[in-house]
């Protein structure tokens, strides 16, 4: 199993911007972790360390037993798949099919196995009917789904999604939620960056909150969005989900999701009755 760990991780961009100021984080194989925090708090910089796109200025990142400082990106790519925040910085092929096949071919898949991984990945994002389409003939939201499919096709034990729900409609969000569920069911690790508090509270079991290049809290959605944590959330420009606010006002305890509000109300009424 592939655990991921960062210890005392610091990163400074060329030009002197310090984006990470000492991050300690351990993510065990199979966890579903959301990383949230204000714009510019270091979320994207952090996840770019997971597959070696960035290497620590100080500290250490381990993927399984691979130290990213000394491991070739090609080797890390077979372990950690990362879908970029901006699809237009990731897509480069002339067809949807070629785009999705690029990654798995590079990690050594061939023939029927390659075809199966492409077919399965395109099917999971609903792009199976667009194999020959030029990616730039797809709208932004489907280009974004294409980048996710490209990462899924590599069948890496760790999948990282940078703001996957950006630009998605209700159906796109459902598609992404079902991908997260399926990856978790397969025992793969899913890490996502998001500003969508509804999405993170419904689809993830652990929420890491960042501010100014550091982790300021780390816990379950119920912990992260409990009323006593709101000042901390607000200090990094976040707001609790609406369901959590309603639950607190109604004295229901921590209710990070609509489902939790319903369950708490049912429990309360059956308790009274």
């Amino acid at each position: 199993m592939t655990d991921l760990s960062c210890s005392a991780l610091r990163y400074e961009y060329p030009g002197g911007v310090r984006a990470l100021e000492g991050v300690d984080l351990v993510i065990s194989a199979g966890e579903r972790v959301a990383i949230v925090g204000q714009n510019g708090s270091g979320k994207t910089t952090l996840v770019r360390h997971f597959n070696g796109l960035l290497r620590p200025t100080e500290g250490r990142v381990l993927v399984g037993n691979l130290d990213t400082q000394t491991t070739r990106i090609a080797k890390l790519a077979a372990v950690v798949g990362l879908a970029f925040q901006d699809p237009d910085r990731q897509i480069f092929s002339g067809s949807v099919e070629a785009e999705v096949a690029f990654g798995p071919r590079n990690v050594g898949l061939r023939g029927a196995e390659l075809e199966a991984s492409v077919r399965e990945a395109l099917g999971s994002v609903g792009l199976d009917g667009e194999r020959q389409t030029n990616p730039y003939d797809l709208g932004y939201s489907r280009r974004k789904l294409l980048t996710i499919a490209s990462v899924l096709a590599m069948r890496t034990p760790i999948v990282v999604l940078d703001e996957p729900t950006t630009g998605q409609d209700a159906r796109g969000i459902r598609t992404i939620r079902s991908i997260v569920d399926r990856l978790a069911a397969e025992g793969r690790t899913v890490i996502a960056i998001s500003h969508d508090m509804r999405f993170v509270s419904e689809s993830f079991s652990r929420i890491v909150v960042m501010r100014g290049g550091r982790i300021v809290s780390d816990g379950t959605p119920a912990d992260a969005f409990a009323e006593d944590g709101w000042p901390l959330l607000r200090s990094t420009n976040l707001e609790p989900p609406f369901a959590a606010v309603v639950g607190a006002r109604m004295g229901l305890g921590p209710t990070p999701t609509d489902r939790a509000v319903v369950d708490a109300l049912v429990a309360r009424s059956s308790g009274v009755g």
């Binding site: 961009y13 030009g15 911007v17 925090g37 204000q38 714009n39 510019g40 979320k43 994207t44 925040q85 901006d86 237009d88 910085r89 709208g139 932004y140 939201s141 489907r142 703001e163 950006t166 630009g167 998605q168 409609d169 209700a170 159906r171 796109g172 969000i173 500003h195 508090m197 509804r198 607000r234 990094t236 420009n237 976040l238 707001e239 989900p241 609406f242 369901a243 309603v246 006002r249 109604m250 609509d258 489902r259 509000v261 319903v262 109300l265 049912v266 009424s269």
Partner: protein, 264 residues
């Protein structure tokens, strides 16, 4: 006043139309939200309403784009720029790529409108402060985070103070505080008379800033009405639009047969 009159649009090389028979009229200072599933025509509407389609990207337009009652189809882009601003879906597309600091980037638009430099500096300072990015002023705009680039892109438009503004998912990458700052800045621009079209998936944001919502489906207007009515319309969810959080929660309670009043 900005008006789309019987507008249909087909991209160059496309077989079908991306917009069909769209009539949409905005009074000065009016803020209209546009929702719809992916590829319903929101971005296309933005390009047509800002005059970029077909002017800059080709394609075939039927119907008319009217500004203050005048058909602007013959007007060159530089005359249209002060009249309608557009914020692109991908903020990276918005960057000039020639400015080395955020300050210069935000100044790029108004300087190109030929506005006096002292006035430009005043506007840049004001816009940068309104969006809370003062401390980024000396940074390279190409080396910011995704959300910071989006704030810079919106900031550049605010500094242009266009008469009309079309925004294609202007807050998609922003944290909630960034969303609030953008909403407040847009509302204060609207209060000065700028009419706005905001295409967004974030219906919670639209609920706060729009007086009216239009829902697109397959290039046509499917719903058009007051914000609260459209956002509570069950048809919206059928179209594939995620309703605002209070509407979703209300529905979850209804489905569970719970008759409780939610705190305001």
């Amino acid at each position: 006043m900005l008006r789309l009159e019987g507008v249909s649009y087909r991209y160059a090389g496309a077989t079908g139309k991306s917009l069909r028979d769209v009539d949409l009229s905005l009074a000065d200072g009016e803020v209209v939200g546009v929702v719809g599933p992916s590829e319903a025509g929101k971005s296309t509407l933005s390009l047509v309403a800002s005059g970029l389609a077909p002017r800059a990207i080709g394609g075939t337009l039927e119907g008319r784009l009217l500004i203050d009652g005048e058909d602007v189809s013959g007007q060159p882009m530089h005359e249209l720029a002060p009249l309608v601003g557009i914020c692109f879906q991908n903020p990276l597309t918005q960057l000039s790529q020639v400015a080395d600091t955020v300050f210069e980037e935000v100044a790029f638009g108004p300087l190109n409108l030929g506005i006096d430099r002292i006035e430009v500096a005043r506007r840049v300072t004001r816009s940068v402060e309104a969006l809370g990015i003062g401390e980024l002023a000396e940074r390279d705009p190409r080396r910011l985070s995704g959300g910071q680039i989006q704030l810079v892109a919106v900031c550049g438009l605010l500094a242009m103070e266009p008469r009309h503004l079309v925004l294609d998912e202007p807050t998609a990458q922003l944290d909630p505080e960034g969303k609030r700052l953008v909403s407040d800045a847009l509302l204060s621009l609207a209060a000065k008379g700028t009419a706005m079209i905001i295409c967004e998936h974030d219906t919670d944001l639209l609920a706060q800033v729009c007086s009216r919502i239009v829902a697109l489906d397959a290039g046509q207007i499917a719903l058009d009405g007051l914000t609260a009515e459209v956002l509570a319309n069950p048809r919206l969810e059928e179209l594939g639009v995620q309703p605002p959080a209070p509407v979703s929660l209300r529905r979850a309670l209804d489905r569970a047969g719970l008759k409780v009043a939610l705190p305001a």
